[in-house]
């Protein structure tokens, strides 16, 4: 008896030591993880705080409602943000139907053979192609061959091509996440293929698809290189024709052909000026682009959360 007691206690000590060791390992790992996370977050935060501090004097309503000017103090972003908004609209209207339809087709309809494999590989590779390549393609195809000019339409279509792979890949991934049993259940009660796709597949993958779209749009918003390549303007002190009119037919598509500038180009232009006062404007523009991008990504996360919560299977 007396000899057994210390043995158990000794054993217990060993176990405790082991637990302590493992807990320490856990702790060390969590610290490493935290550091890894912080490297990314702090870099972004430092950049952002730096931009905000540099650009702070220009955060006012005038900055958003003034045309560009040679005087840094009264130069504003009006043409740039309106341009960005219109280009994004074209991008959205083009990339979303094409991307979602392509994703659904590849996942639900396409036969599995070498040809679809080839398409798959290409789509994944396209997502990694440098954006300037899209700019060059657009310059040749849209500007010169199709003669669309250096217009909002050209820029919107170019950025749509750029984010198309992102939309396709996320669409496919969110469709793939739907359990096979859902499809089988629908077929079992006699649904047609289209009914399955429109009532179930699209419905359940909506959150994921939406996330992909918003992340793609946020990327398109910050793109500079392809838009410069197709020849966006740097000084433009008038707005494109308004898309909505008071009289019938109410909608006006002249703005599609208008020249334009976008936020990153305005920032780039200000940054390369000799006058340091313009660098303040550039910093403020940078901060605004980051804020809008964060808002878009935040919306994506929030929407995904909301929509996932309502799905019960």
């Amino acid at each position: 008896m007396t000899t057994q007691q210390p043995a158990v206690l000794k054993n217990l000590d060993e176990v405790r030591a082991m637990i302590r060791r493992h807990k320490l390992n856990d702790y060390i790992f969590s610290i490493i993880g935290l550091i890894a996370l912080m490297v990314g977050l702090l870099t972004l935060l430092t950049l952002f705080v730096d931009l905000v501090m540099d650009g702070y004097p220009r955060f006012n309503q005038e900055f958003l409602s003034n045309f560009p000017s040679r005087r840094a103090g009264s130069a504003g972003l009006l043409t740039a943000w309106v341009g960005s908004l219109l280009v994004m609209t074209v991008t959205f209207v083009t990339a979303v139907p094409l991307g979602v339809a392509a994703g659904v087709y590849l996942e639900e309809y396409a036969p599995k053979n070498w040809f679809t494999d080839l398409i798959e590989i290409n789509v994944s590779n396209l997502a990694g192609v440098p954006s300037i390549i899209y700019g060059l393609l657009a310059l040749g195809l849209f500007v010169y061959i199709l003669d669309l000019g250096q217009s909002i339409l050209t820029a919107g279509l170019t950025l749509a091509l750029l984010i198309l792979p992102v939309v396709i890949v996320t669409t496919r991934e969110s469709i793939r996440a739907i359990p096979v049993s859902i499809r089988e259940g629908a077929y079992a009660v006699g649904a047609t293929k289209w009914q399955v796709v429109s009532d179930h597949i699209l419905h359940y993958s909506f959150g994921g698809i939406l996330t992909g779209i918003i992340i793609g749009m946020a990327r398109a918003l910050g793109e500079t290189a392809p838009v410069i390549t197709i020849g966006a303007l740097t000084f433009i002190a008038f707005l494109p024709p308004a898309p909505v009119m008071a009289e019938p037919p109410f909608l006006n598509f002249e703005w599609l052909q208008s020249g334009f500038t976008v936020l990153p180009i305005q920032m780039f232009n200000w940054l390369s000026r000799p006058d340091h006062a313009f660098h303040t404007n550039a910093a403020a523009t940078g901060a605004i682009i980051i804020i809008v991008t964060l808002l878009m990504n935040g919306t994506a996360i929030w929407l995904r959360y909301r929509i996932r919560k309502n799905i019960k299977w």
Partner: protein
């Protein structure tokens, strides 16, 4: 939800269909399209801003920055009405314009002083001769001339770090013509950037650096850089770049006129282009100074104005960015 989504797709398809019908009513709109050199851009931007204010939005002006060469490419395709240029039009560009049937009116609008800049801690090089600059920048120097001592025996044996304009810029063309003697002929092993602020950063952070760019960038960064005085030939005095030395013609060979080229057809048949150029020349003396460039002397502006009024097409350079030509003489050459 699922129906809404399908409906969105339908609406999107309908909107996409509407793209196909291009709006053709744009012809009535008055637009002056300008592109070209980033050096001329600040002046053109200032003029465009004031012009649009004075016209109360009746005429629209757009200004792009494609660089002198890129600007001429668009200009000779007839895509723009006016092209800014920090060097005269080259033979290749003259041919392209001729082929497309485009004639142009060459108008000098201001002077710029290409400034050779040094780090403020550089205590050995104050005056630099053109011969020394040539030794640093000529193609034969590539990989061979690596220290300051190799350029001038009185200078220390320290590495020579070169910063210059990118090969697409008019600044590069002019500097090589003025220093090496042949446009675009330069060594390739230097830090090149189209963005002059990058060059400012580079030179201000390296004691052994030397670089060149337009005067406006030096003027804004005098706290970080110092300019070198240029000796044109042995026996001539060393001259610092400044508005005075450029206007009295002593800052040679690096002071250069900068131009706008106006499409002659547009000048004759588009009243808004004519009006814009009139406005440009009338307000240039004041606006050029405001954006930190060097205005032409009054008699030269008068000559340019007369040249513009006569609508004489052509270039006074014959395709070579000649150095040190007087503007009045230049304009007389265009018959």
């Amino acid at each position: 939800m699922q129906f809404k989504f399908a409906k969105t797709l339908g609406v999107a398809a309908a909107v996409a269909g509407l793209y196909a019908a291009p709006a053709t009513v744009l012809a009535a709109e008055k637009i002056v399209k300008i592109d070209g050199s980033s050096t001329v851009y600040p002046i053109t931007e200032a003029v465009a801003e004031e012009f649009q204010i004075s016209k109360k939005g009746a005429v629209k002006v757009t200004v792009g920055i494609s660089g002198t060469g890129g600007g001429f490419k668009k200009f000779c395709r007839g895509e723009t009405d006016i092209s800014g240029a920090s060097r005269p039009i080259l033979q290749k560009e003259m041919d392209a314009c001729k082929e497309a049937g485009i004639q142009y009116i060459e108008l000098p609008v201001a002077y710029d002083a290409l400034t050779v800049v040094l780090n403020p801690k550089n205590d050995w090089a104050k005056n630099i001769t053109v011969a020394e600059l040539k030794k640093m920048w000529e193609p034969a120097a590539q990989g061979k001339v690596k220290t300051w001592k190799q350029v001038n025996a009185a200078w220390p044996d320290k590495p020579l770090k070169l910063f210059g304009a990118g090969a697409d810029s008019g600044t590069f063309d002019y500097f090589t013509e003025a220093i090496v003697g042949k446009a675009k002929s330069s060594r390739g092993d230097f830090t090149a950037s189209e963005d002059d602020n990058v060059l400012v950063q580079g030179v201000s952070q390296d004691v052994n650096a030397i670089g060149y760019f337009g005067y406006a960038y030096y003027e804004e960064n005098q706290d970080k850089l110092k300019a070198a005085a240029i000796v044109e030939k042995a026996g001539k005095p060393a001259v610092m770049p400044s508005p005075q030395t450029v206007m009295n013609g002593t800052y040679q060979p690096l002071s250069r006129p900068i131009f706008i080229y106006v499409n002659a057809t547009a000048a004759a048949f588009k009243p808004e282009v004519k009006e814009f150029v009139n406005f440009y020349l009338k307000n240039a003396p004041e606006l050029v100074k405001e954006v930190k460039y060097i205005p032409l002397p009054a008699n030269e502006y008068a000559a340019v104005n007369a040249h513009w009024k006569a609508l004489k097409p052509g270039t006074g350079f014959g395709g070579v960015p000649e150095v040190g030509v007087k503007i009045e003489e230049l304009l007389k050459r265009i018959k």
